[in-house]
């Protein structure tokens, strides 16, 4: 798109033609060497994925069928590691999905107006605003979450103020509740929501808004009929990029949660690090991965794969 905002008919035409051609396979004359070029070019990336993703994943899968803990664990086709972990940690799995879902919706509700404002009203300072959004995230996530635990503690500034104002009773507390955990997740993942939304909104050609006005649409209608559908892929992407890592989060529970707010990520961590129970830890990881994969696939199906893929690629 043109940066200057001056109409550029060539660009629009080109875009149109590309779109029209994309469905038609074009047969080209190629020799073998040319044909191998794409494979050679992608080889480093493929190799990278094989070594650092595929092989470890396969290894973890075999570990999930082991029996015993370190140092005595051994391969045993133990499929019931899956049923054991699933039945043991089902509540935490469901809770993790719930918390992540609520937190993601919160980040979307907060993030959309922010991204909208920056892309349409940010003017020349857009980058500054984006940077401001990201600045807190140069500090370690653990420290930031811990600071929230201090601010929200029983003798911290928030609860104390509410108590003095007489709005809450003496036994009221924020930390060690599910609300605090959801709040922490929403806070920590906000930039992951805002950035894809911003990218989608930023790509909207301002002239389309003008066109909407020209056709006698009021602001709300323009938003509904033009902006919202055009930026919808961004919403889908923002949802995925926030929700998927949020389900596996374990920091927020540790600092802000109470006795019955545990999330699945914490259970996996305990199995691996404290119990040295790699088989069950690996099985639980795969359960989580499967839940997320199935969820993401259904989600993409329901919304149309292209929209999600396009937005995620953006």
């Amino acid at each position: 798109m043109s940066e200057t905002g001056v109409p550029n008919i060539d660009e629009i035409l080109k875009a149109g033609f590309d779109y029209g051609n994309s469905g038609t396979p074009v047969r080209r004359k190629t020799n073998k060497r040319k044909a191998s070029v794409p494979y050679l070019l992608s080889a480093p990336a493929v190799l990278w994925l094989v070594i650092f993703f595929a092989l470890p994943t396969i290894y973890m899968f075999t570990v999930s069928l082991y029996e015993g803990t370190i140092p005595t664990m051994h391969f045993a086709w133990k499929w019931n590691n899956y049923s054991t972990t699933l039945s043991l940690f089902q509540p935490q799995l469901i809770r993790a999905v719930e918390y992540a879902l609520v937190a993601t919706i919160i980040t979307l509700l907060i993030g959309y107006p922010v991204a909208y404002w920056i892309s349409f009203y940010g003017g020349r300072r857009k980058n500054v605003f984006l940077l401001l959004l990201l600045v807190p995230f140069f500090v370690s996530v653990v420290l930031r979450t811990y600071q929230w635990a201090v601010l929200l503690s029983d003798q911290g500034i928030v609860v104390n103020t509410l108590r003095r104002l007489g709005l809450v009773g003496s036994s009221f507390h924020i930390t060690s509740t599910g609300y605090a955990v959801v709040f922490g997740i929403a806070y920590n993942f906000l930039p992951f929501t805002v950035l894809p939304l911003y990218v989608a909104l930023e790509r909207i050609e301002p002239r389309l808004l003008e066109a909407g006005r020209d056709l006698y649409a009021d602001r709300n209608t323009t938003f509904r009929k033009v902006v919202w559908p055009l930026a919808l892929p961004g919403v889908f992407a923002a949802f995925l990029l926030t929700f998927v890592p949020a389900v596996g989060d374990f920091i927020n529970y540790q600092y802000l949660g109470g006795p019955s707010n545990g999330m699945i990520g914490n259970n996996i961590q305990v199995l691996f690090r404290e119990n040295l129970d790699y088989p069950h830890g690996a099985a639980l990881s795969f359960v989580l991965m499967a839940v997320l994969l199935v969820g993401a696939t259904l989600y993409a199906r329901a919304l149309g794969t292209e929209a999600v893929m396009e937005a995620t690629a953006a």
């Binding site: 803990t69 811990y146 503690s153 507390h173 930390t175 540790q254 914490n266 119990n275």
Partner: protein
Amino acid sequence: MTERNDDLFQDPSFVRGMTQKRLSRRDVFKYAGVGAGALSMSSILAACGGNSSSVSAGTGGGSAGSDMFSGAPHKIVNFANWPYYIDKSKDANGQIIHPSLEQFTKDTGIQVNYREVIQDNASFFGKIQPSLASGQSTGWDIIVITNGTTLTKLFQSNYLVPLPTDMHPNFDANASDAVKDPSYDPGNKYTMAWQSGLTGIGWDPNQVKALRPDKPTITSIEDLFDPVFKGKVGMFGDNQDLPNFVLLSLGVNPEESTPDDWQKAADKLTAQKPNVRSYYTQNYINALNNGDVALTMAWSGDIFQSNLSGAASGLQFTVPTEGAIIWTDNMCIPIGVQNPVDAITMMDYVYKPDIQALIEDYNGYICPVPASQAIIEKIDPQTAKSPLVFPTPEEQSVFHTYRVLTDDELLTWNSLFEPIYQG
């Protein structure tokens, strides 16, 4: 103790948690970066391990032991310990030094590569286990492991080198009865204590008084179960201290407890759950200072250090009438050791009363050398008098150690207690 003023954080339990969920119990004022650096250090050392003259310990770890100690020292020892667990000072250039280790090098000519790489028994074991299993050097000549599940695994897998009984004269002469011939390692075949510490109750006098004016002191484990403190009670979220501590409250000696006792303890904990603010794996000292909890399970050193660091609340540590859990961190030599003579020399050296006094006055745990008390008395009478550093035999009579669990028992144990503290 002046060194501590330089430190960043007031809550050792939090700082440990910066790098990971914790099962450790060090009084650590650790910077966040230390963990990552230490991790890579150990892997580098492990990677380099094969190059130097490696002494084969054999996978059996049994009979091969005595030969390796007959040679001359290599003048270097690689020592893996927990953070902030040894005396510290600054030299003329402002560099941090460990006076006790400097003295060791002066006396023996052996350089000490002292690294604070252990923050949790299980994950440290997980890290060195592949080397141990393949018979390769871990890169360490001395490691420090708490009595409990991990140490049991090291024993069972024959991953430790039996110590030569004739090479620790200082230990024989000066070690306290508590660390000589411990139940988990009869005859000190594989281990010598570094320090011991207690699991008891930490509490904030102001909050306890506000919530329970008629009985403003904490004396018993039952206080953790008093409904008056609903929502203000902290418990440990781990599978050692939490179950063992509650077994004490049932009048059961954890070491001799049966699965029936475990069930009772689990039931008691389940009933208590609605009153618990959080099952802490870290950060519980700040929860005390913030008012999130009024009383919590605690490690003696953490409370001691929090008060020292200037957090003004004057927290208390109580050894309950039912008793407390005592744990001991043990120096041991892993198989594949490269400098065994240097290692045993170092391990024995810290049992010299004057050297132990240097270490003890810094970390304030239970001293394994009674003769150090007189020396500390001269420089720091308060520490010398502390029952948490030099408990009398009478005081020690209520200390109990963790239940030793077999693999099968551990499964039962975990299935009873994990659902309680794992949210």
